[in-house]
Amino acid sequence: MTACRETAAVLLEQLAGGQATSLELTESCLAEIAAHDESIGAFLHVAADAALVSAESIDRRRAAGEPLGRLAGLPVALKDVLVTSDQPTTCASRMLEGWNPPYDAHTVERLRQADAVLIGKTNMDEFAMGSTTENSAVGPTRTPWRLDCVAGGSSGGSAAAVAAGFAPLAVGSDTGGSIRQPASCCGVVGLKPTYGRVSRYGLVAYASSLDQVGPFARDVASAALLLEVLAGHDSRDGTCVELPVPGYSERLDEPLEGLRIGICPEHFARGLDGEVRETIERALDVYRGLGAVIREIELKHAKFAVACYYLVAPSEASSNLARYDGIHYGRRVDDYDGLVQMYSDSRGAAFGSEVKRRIMLGTYALSAGYYDAYYLKAQKVRRLIAEDYSRAFASVDVIASPVAPTPAVPLGQLTGDPLEMYLADIYTISANLAGIPGISIPAGFSSDGRPIGLQLLGNAFAEEQLLRAAAMHERETQWHQAIPDLDRDAPS
């Protein structure tokens, strides 16, 4: 089966041209999932029957000459943090085990309107809290490149699904790097849009002021295509902006003349893996070769980003996750003595330890007497970080950096050390704090075969520029053509 190893953009052409049918494509994806997902763990739920029905129906409509949506017939995997009316939604938590939402997320509606085939729900860190997908209540997701290593997180399932050829496109969410970092670990393209570019309606909230939905794809053009479908105004999300959505995929082939790339010297300092550093430097050389100018920029408050993030995000999370109280839906313990015990026992039993840790952090930070010193101060630092970026984008078009300090880590390496795990978010979380878009694109491999991504950050609502800059590197390097061999023996 090679069909699902093609990029989405190519597959759409084949579908439109009659060289392939949606049914063939969907069957081929389902076969890959059946053959390999047991070892990878990308999916929490595979909607095989519904996907086949939907694929057949789209093929019929195509045969009848009916007008079809932008992604007609293309299988798309959804991170299990987006609510779906016809598939369970669990956020990889025991808390929501068996919960069937009565509605579709805005982005899910968009995908249905685009005639995408919704093939299943992907694994993630519980409630999107984590960087390795090991915090899933169901089990970890492994990068298809090295089954002893994590897929990254929290959208590890979506990234791995695309890398493994289980689906040409997947949707994820990014609160502190949860799209970009697993994209890097899995060697695919992942984009976090500007905050407000994509509606959050139906995205189960982790940290409301940071969460954003975005695309995973095998190449930049396909990511651009999926973003076009996901982005746009939605009156049900007050933070979603009313700006027109540019045709991101239209001018991808045109290089940006005189591209100015900013780099921050601190990004290449202590703690960065040597192979990652070399990979990023090679990528910068590629850009130099294309006529780009590399400039050093100053991000004065970048060093506070991790601290700032781990106050803002848990604070909002502690509030957002309070609704899981065992009353209206979700897990409720069978035996309890009184209301308070019902709350505490249900939450105690159903949440994993990382979720509990962040709820406690946030509850503490918002408590009377601490609010000013923690949450309020963090919000002020956040503004300074955002201002740093505004200043930087006055002199550069994009900012290049690593995605993570290391390639995908071996399973279990970070789970015992939450602080080490938090520090690994250092390159990605600033974009969420500043609300700006960022993309991770394949830039090479470590000597032991783990993918390494390059991160590019752009100014707010400059996704088009970001995608064009990413496409320049992709055309030159072709790293996105590399495909993991799923049939080799899994390392022990």
Partner: protein, 499 residues
């Protein structure tokens, strides 16, 4: 207990009269009979759902703030007030913490003092803010220990919280404050303030400043009284608390073992307050700005536009009815209390017939009686303002007696008088019933002579001093004359009999 020592502050919640809820498109409608039908992912607090501010709710709140003469914030935001309760599906209430949309303001109420004098008291307000209502927990009240249930129809109803300064000095004053507030909200179209349906709810804080045996002023611990479900209930509960706190003070000689704030409920059946929680929990609601709702700023022009659109406040209108239209305080109050439609109706009648006092009499007596009997709203009433004004004008011009006008009115109320304009219908009724007033004195003279001649015994009785006998004669004349003025008939009869 002098009123100087009574310290009362009220916290009032008013449900706004919007078509839809505050953050979603669900209907905002009192509907206790079908639980959980007016719900959607947003007001159910389902994962992934997001609130979007209802523009009308915001506008009504601003209008309330303006009418209460508070200062409208140029910048306001919503905060999450976090606590666990089954009727609160998100486990936080979206409310306003440190930047309410309106601060300050006041409500003036006229209160009859112990000496019978009316005093205008200015009750200052601390703040007015907009928040969401919670749902309702339903417990098995049979005592059978059945399951508790939650109805979320009410969850997400826009709710205005109005907090007064502790400026209220008596239970009656609290009652008057609520009445005046209700009228203002009703006139502004902000709320129907129906306490039975919970669209106005009130908690009262009360304590006393008393003098202890050492001659020092001591304040009794503040008590918050909850479960107040009628204005009279508020008054009664506060009256009870004043006595209770006084008594408790005497028992303790002003030295309390525990002087923390206490929450008490009101048992309307037994007429007593009772301790609900031993001690006010030091709740930490962990307020923080709701990241799902953007802060709002208002331009001066926008606020000025809203201010210009405000109706005349009921208190001012009541004053105008007295000072400009010459009504009694009582009539003015009755008319205003009926609500804006009735006040409009009255004013329309008064303007058209140019006799405000007579118009007030007709509206407060005849019209209200008919409406009460029919359980009808003024807008559905069969006699519109034009009709009543026409009728009153005919009395003023002496074309109809008041008695005949009442008869015509009764026919009009039943929809009689055939087709056409009200004036045409009135004409027709007057014709058919021969109600046109007998203005011709000669004709009346002749009629009186005939009646006296036909009732010699009654005439004789009157002449010898049996005054009551005149009634029979008046009745006879009236019957013959159709639309005669009974007062005129009486005068003419007496003149004749005594001549």
């Amino acid at each position: 207990m002098t009123s100087a020592g009574i310290i009362i502050g009220l916290e009032v919640h008013v449900q706004l009269q919007t078509r839809t809820k505050i953050f979603c498109g669900c209907l905002n409608r009192f509907n206790p009979d079908e639980p959980n039908v007016q719900t959607c992912p947003v007001c159910l607090g389902l994962p992934g759902a997001l609130p979007v501010m209802n523009r009308l709710a915001l506008e009504l709140s601003l209008q309330a703030g303006l009418a209460l003469e508070g200062s409208i914030a140029g910048f306001t935001k919503w905060d999450r007030k976090q606590y666990y309760y089954p009727d609160l599906p998100k486990a936080y209430q979206i409310s306003q913490y440190d930047l309410p949309l309106c601060q300050g303001g006041h409500l003036d109420v006229e209160v009859e003092q112990q000496d019978g004098e009316i005093e205008t008291r200015t009750i200052r307000l601390i703040r007015v803010h907009l928040e969401e209502d919670a749902g309702k927990n339903l417990h098995d009240e049979t005592g059978g220990g059945g399951e508790s249930r939650v109805d979320l129809n009410r969850a997400g109803t826009p709710l205005l919280e109005i907090v007064s300064e502790p400026d209220i000095r008596s239970a009656t004053e609290a009652y008057r404050f609520l009445e005046e507030l209700r009228l203002l909200m009703v006139y502004l179209g902000i709320s129907d303030c129906n306490m039975q349906e919970g669209s106005l709810r009130c908690d009262a804080n009360i304590n006393l400043e008393l003098t202890n045996p050492a001659g020092e002023a001591v304040r009794t611990p503040i008590v918050e009284v909850k479960n107040l479900n009628s204005f009279r209930g508020v008054e009664a509960a506060l009256t009870y608390e004043i006595t209770r706190q006084q008594k408790e003070f005497d028992e303790f000689d002003g030295v309390y073992p525990d002087d923390s704030k206490q929450t008490r409920g009101w048992d309307a059946d037994r007429g007593v307050t009772f301790a609900q929680r031993g001690k006010e929990d030091a709740s930490d609601y962990r307020y923080f700005p709701d990241p799902d709702l953007l802060p709002v700023t208002f331009t001066d022009e926008y606020i000025a536009g809203l201010r210009d659109g405000l109706c005349e406040p009921p208190a001012q209108r009541r004053r105008r009815f007295v000072q400009q239209l010459g009504l009694s305080d009582y009539d003015a109050a009755v008319l205003i209390d009926q609500g804006p439609q009735t006040a409009d109706y009255f004013e329309s009648v008064a303007m058209q017939c140019s006799d405000a006092k007579r118009a007030a009499n007709w509206v407060t007596q005849d019209v209200l009686r008919e409406l009460n009997e029919r359980d009808q709203a003024i807008v559905d009433f069969a006699v519109d303002a034009d009709g009543l004004a026409t009728l009153i004008s005919l009395i003023t011009s002496q074309e109809l007696t008041t008695r005949s006008a009442r008869e015509v009115f009764a026919v009009l109320v039943e929809g009689g008088g055939g087709e056409g304009t009200v004036a045409e219908r009135i004409d027709r009724i007057v014709q058919q019933r021969g109600l046109a007033a007998v203005a011709d004195t000669a004709q009346l003279d002749q009629l009186i002579d005939t009646v006296i001649a036909g009732n010699q015994q009654a005439a004789e009785d009157f002449r010898v001093g049996k005054d009551a006998a005149i009634g029979r004669l008046i009745g006879e004349v009236m019957r013959e004359a159709g639309g005669a003025d009974p007062q005129k008939v009486r005068e003419a009869l007496i003149a004749k009999l005594r001549s």
